[in-house]
Subunit: 269 residues, 2 copies
């Protein structure tokens, strides 16, 4: 089973640290077959890293694509476009394979199942760039906004900030995953609403592992944040949602909603 | 004695918190005579707050100008222009008063003596916007770059980051205060070099005061950073430089270098 995630956010928000934390070890970049050519003239690059995880006796090939250079310029108009092009290109590759006369029964699936969008912990709400980028991304991929470096905010600041982000998203008509769909049962819809109320998740990246206890944390001069402790940060909630509880849903929505929308847009006379 | 400081940096980096920490109490904005009209069509506003401090039996009227809205847009081309215009306008007001036929012996001095530029703690170095903004600012005011929210970086990350920022500034020809001047003695030049080696200062804003000990700090779930403890952050080093050791120098360089440059540029045929 292929599960493909893309990370989007300004540089310095902890995206590469997140990859290491999710893969539970310090990995080096093995930029695979994906050329960085999607960048066009912009400074955004596209690096993909693949890892095989075992989850519930199912082998999952987890690919994470980072996008270093996003929004690093002075003028960031359409900075999200190379990333949207990359996501569309995965839909297009799948469509071509599906339409081919001689086609493979198992088409390799590089379609992106989730886009984790890193929000800077300013304490003030979404920036104009965040809103425009998320509006474009949500048209083609499941959007999962997260608050980067959540350890830099106090508990109160984080709660206010989450509240403010949820309000900004509602006003801007940004619809993060999971969105209720008509085919769902009442209880599934309720579960989706409860999950949205907890979002955006405030995540923290790991920088050390306690040699005695094996606890993963981010250690500074002033204290230790335990990454997997849901009292300290939401990393484990995000990981559970992505890998354990909603992977099937994320793949299904990608197949039945985002891919079908792409296909209809591209096949219409 | 008037001492005027301007704060520049993206929103959410702790500028208003810095004002409270410097004025040792939670102050509300009393936007004084300065109209926000300098913003032209941009979103940058100009708020000035004035406070009287006693320092070495000298009464100092400390005015701090914040610039909320800087670099908040998607396209931040020339985002620093309204701020440069505001600084030039103070030089211009002084020049007009100086040239007036009926002139006041004590011309009120609203010229800006220092610009504190807040750098985002990305860990990666200066952004393109930081470089362009600082290059424009240093032509008309003493530039003091600082690393905002330094508590979010570990000691190692902070040292590497400071090193990287110093290198980026050298490459881009950014010259923070204090710059050696030919009129200085050998020992003054040496002291200036030593001060530059410690910069940019990593500062932290206060969010509580310990009721028992009176210690000012930033408290999160994971620990307490003591603001005035130079083992924890550089806030006291910055405050010392601005208010105690270099206030005279900052005012002199503003008078003899930046103002004179402005005057020559504007009076030349
Ligand atoms: N305070 C804090 N710093 C972090 C966190 N994750 C990463 N960092 C630090 O932020 C800096 C940038 O991280 P990096 O992963 O390179 O960011 P990227 O540019 O988004 O890939 C590094 O100094 C990291 O150690 C976090 O959760 N909290
Ligand atoms: N981690 C950390 N957070 C800070 C610091 N100073 C301010 N903050 C928080 O950052 C957020 C934005 O601060 P604010 O002063 O409003 O920033 P401004 O927009 O630049 O004026 C608030 O939630 C502050 O509590 C600091 O030194 N370290």
């Amino acid at each position: 089973v292929n599960f493909n995630i893309i990370l989007v956010g300004a540089s310095g928000l902890g995206k590469s640290t997140f990859v290491d934390t999710l893969f539970k070890s310090s990995v080096s970049w093995r930029a695979n077959a994906n050329p960085t050519g999607f960048g066009i003239p912009s400074t955004v690059q596209i690096h993909t890293l693949t890892h095989v995880l075992e989850e519930k006796s199912m082998r999952v090939k987890l690919s994470i694509t980072d996008t270093p250079g996003f929004a690093d310029a002075i003028n960031n108009a359409d900075a999200w476009q190379p990333i949207c092009d990359f996501i569309d290109a995965q839909h297009s590759a799948f469509l071509d394979a599906e339409l081919a006369v001689e086609r493979d029964v198992n088409i390799p699936d590089t379609r992106v199942h989730a886009c984790i969008y890193f929000i800077e912990p300013t304490g003030h709400g979404l920036s104009e760039l965040d809103m425009q980028a998320m509006l474009s991304l949500q048209e083609r991929v499941n959007l999962v906004p997260v608050i980067a470096k959540a350890d830099t905010l106090t508990r109160d600041e984080l709660e206010h900030f989450k509240q403010r982000i949820r309000e900004d998203m509602t006003t801007a008509n940004i619809l993060p995953f999971p969105q209720s769909r008509p085919t769902q049962s009442e209880s599934q819809m309720m579960a989706a609403v409860r999950l949205l109320e907890e979002q955006p998740f405030g995540i923290v990246g790991q920088n050390f592992t306690d040699p005695d206890t094996g606890v993963r944390g981010r250690k500074t001069r002033f204290g230790v944040v335990e990454i997997d402790n849901s009292e300290h940060c939401d990393f484990s909630k995000l990981q559970d949602m992505l890998i354990r509880t909603h992977m099937h849903d994320l793949r299904m929505v990608t197949r039945e909603v985002h891919y079908e929308n792409y296909r209809r847009r591209n096949l219409e006379p």
